[in-house]
Symmetry: C2
Subunit: 492 residues, 2 copies
């Protein structure tokens, strides 16, 4: 049996690492800050990816693929964007190795292979993509361009944590081009809504939506929309961002279109992304001290069948029942697996399925068959439901959506319970340092206030929800009239 | 309308480039040797990927993800493999940029950010993966490991061509670990058979299967199995390889397992891959002087409906029929699209659908509706089939498989017609320089003969088919008894 999971209240951070490791999701690699995503972890990511991809395509987006490298001269073209990423770039300077003349069997970088222009491993692809769009866009007929790519990106992070912050990560990045400002702004909202729907319906993770303050915006964006989720330790996690880029990249790369009257205008841009960070959010949203808990819609295995064979005499009947149930579930679209590993005890298998967060489980043994009394075990609430064999399919099928709903409603309750509106700075400080969670408060809109609160409490403005009227509200820090009612929190 | 496609007999290479460009498949990027895969090209790759992924999963393989970078010390561990890729490596040496003190707004590589150990952008992942497997494998119970990854890799090619040879390309790379030599060898065969099935059934591209000669093997492999396809210009294209790696990587990274008796043994390995090069193979297998030709199973759009609206009076009835047909095809699993772009002539649309290789097309106009006489146009043979409206669905549904079959059988005929067995070197030279194609001939098995033939004729041994008896055959070059009957060809 694997090692025990550290309980959350003992060491939350260790608990997280234990789950990632014991459930077989990911591990650190030989490369500083880069992770290996293990098969079980990757299969969860594949489910996320396939659902998001479907949602993007249903809203008219297409996939494409752009180069991994960005020549330095393109990288620096949009100055704010370049400045934002310059300090964390992997830079390719040479294209060849040669034998080390001093150590047999070893290689050194061939100094003769120095590149004339250095290549940056993409930290994000606005620069390479907008330098390409320049050739694709002449007139209004070429717009909009609605492209997404699934790719790896590299940001040289100093402090890394599996899934949450790694030097290389997998993500999707959408890059759209529009004729009008309004259309581009609507696109950023559409995508932020897709992210929010995905988080709530599939990850069972309700989020708050809103705008970032200027200091938290994406480098090069005019506005950044985001979804923010609340983890079990009361810290916020930015789970997705959707940027209105204005005409910044069009100007940096001179991308203009002729409108219907033939007049040349700069193109409007958006970009948006979610990454393997969502895996971290999913893990921290639902898991408990036993191990991972997964919502059925994102569980690679929704139910595991464990045949319990005590003697050779039982074997045939149990195997038949097991196979029959497996086939019936599978042909009804349930993701099902049989755990028939030899030389492993029932106890090991039960524990293993719980650590891995498999939503449902059923054991098939001689006793169960004899009495036609089976039990479906639910991982999310650790409860068991008795059932006759002939009803298992129906029970499991309906449980996929009912468990999903229960998990969503649990998460919503938790979010509500941990969201507090405050009127005084004392109350604010007390909440942030003791209970944490989302704290709603008035903000005068100044950078100075935002910065002072950050220094004093480590809380940042997670987002400015849209359509919230600050009428009559005072800034929790300065006491001046609030310009916005915003959500503060400590964050990942 | 786009520019005309250069005919094959005028300039085959230009013909290929024209199709890639005019069908909107890919284009060169601002980064030397790297391509942009455009949405239409990428959607073909997505279909290939999804089918291959299904075939891998059905045979027990799982996906995972390993780092983009390989530290130099790991890269050089398996010497033959390192030697094979050292001369074409992108090397990351620094992790930060800073402002250029001499030019405002420009960036330079920060010399203080030099890495202690250089990182190689993976040209292939054996090294990083086997350094990981070391920690995953202790006993025979941990075997086999059957992992695949979909990833980008970089090989610094000097002469590049879109899809066929690019510095960055997309591929899948399988990396499996086994307890016995036999099991590993069987895995390489299983995969080569999957590749061959995929090429024939989905790409409508029959291939020959066999072993590579020693000089053509993957760097670090004991045996390389491959599939070789024949392009329309009579040159061979290596479309997939499956390597038996023996214990080379296990020894380089000290990966041992305890067998049932507790004895430690080195682990046996395979690796295998196909890449976006398959896109090049697909294009060159079927396309003609009009444009791209796609087999229906890999066509993102299997049929395009073009509504032909001449006056406003026609509009409603035509749109209704168009939508009705679209919905009926779509709900029957046909990939269908309506081309209702405004301000574009029928001629433009017909041409566009032909350049893009859309397998079927139907025009819906007032005349067609009036007479209930429609025509399904087939791209692969440029023929038309008349049909009543109520029979279109049935015709199109059955055509998906019949067109696929026709294309397979056409390709097989072409392969057969261009495969010749020869007995004299004169005949060999004549074929290779005039007709090209696959030339079957006896080979004495020596490197010297292989090299001499390559220098004199530019033909190489594409593969050594399994189970072909060389009894009584003489080497086409040396006249000595042949050790193998092999397939020679010029190649990409």
């Amino acid at each position: 049996m694997g090692k025990k999971i550290t309980p959350r209240n003992e060491d939350y951070s260790k608990w997280y690492n234990d789950i990632v490791s014991e459930a077989g999701l990911a591990e650190s690699s030989a490369v500083r800050g880069c992770m290996v995503i293990k098969p079980y972890g990757f299969s969860i990511w594949e489910l996320m990816k396939s659902q998001l991809d479907k949602m993007f395509k249903e809203t008219g987006h297409e996939n494409a693929y752009f180069p991994l490298f960005v020549p330095k001269s393109l990288f620096e073209a949009e100055e704010k964007n370049a400045e934002g990423f310059a300090k964390e770039c992997a830079v390719v300077t040479h294209y060849r190795l040669k034998n080390d003349p001093e150590k047999k069997g070893k290689l050194i970088v061939d100094p003769d292979s120095k590149l004339e222009e250095e290549l940056i491993v993409r930290p994000t692809s606005e620069a390479i993509i907008w330098s390409t769009y320049k050739n694709w866009i002449q007139s209004y007929r070429d717009l909009p361009i609605l492209i997404n790519q699934w790719a790896n990106v590299v940001r040289w992070e100093m402090r890394t944590r599996l899934f949450l912050r790694t030097s290389e990560f997998l993500w999707q990045e959408g890059h759209t081009a529009h004729a009008t400002k309004e259309e581009a702004i609507n696109e950023t909202k559409l995508i932020n809504d897709i992210y929010s729907d995905f988080a709530e319906k599939f990850m069972a993770m309700p989020v708050v939506k809103g705008y970032k303050s200027e200091s938290e915006r994406f480098a090069g964006a005019e506005e950044t929309l985001c979804i923010e989720a609340l983890m079990q330790d009361g810290k916020a996690l930015q789970a997705g961002t959707s940027h209105f880029l204005g005409q910044n990249f069009a100007k940096a790369f001179d991308v203009k279109y002729a409108d219907k009257s033939g007049k040349l205008e700069y193109v409007w841009a958006t970009s948006w992304g979610v990454s393997t960070r969502l895996m971290g959010a999913l893990i921290m949203s639902h898991s408990d001290d036993i191990g991972l808990v997964l919502p059925p819609l994102l569980a690679p295995i929704q139910i595991i069948i464990i045949p319990l064979i005590k003697s050779k005499d039982d074997s045939t009947r149990i195997q038949e029942k097991t196979d029959e149930l497996f086939n019936s579930l599978k042909s009804n679209g349930i993701r099902v697996k049989i755990d028939d590993r030899e030389n492993m005890s029932l106890g090991f298998k039960l524990n293993d399925s719980e650590v891995k967060g498999i939503p449902m489980r059923v054991v098939i043994g001689e006793k169960e068959i004899e009495n036609n009394q089976f039990e479906v075990f639910y991982r999310h609430n650790l409860k068991k439901e008795p059932t006759a064999y002939e009803n298992i399919l129906e029970l499991v099928s309906s449980s996929v959506s009912s468990v999903q709903s229960e998990m969503i409603s649990e998460s919503k309750k938790r979010l509500k319970k941990n969201t507090h509106e405050v009127n005084s700075y004392d109350e604010f400080k007390d909440l942030i340092s003791n209970q944490r969670g989302f704290v709603i408060a008035g903000w005068d809109g100044s950078k100075e206030t935002e910065e002072a609160i950050k220094i004093e409490t480590k809380a940042t403005i997670r987002c400015i929800p849209e359509g919230v009227d600050p009428e009559g509200v005072k800034c929790v820090y300065s006491g001046k009239p609030a310009r916005y009612k915003v959500i503060f929190s400590k964050s990942y």
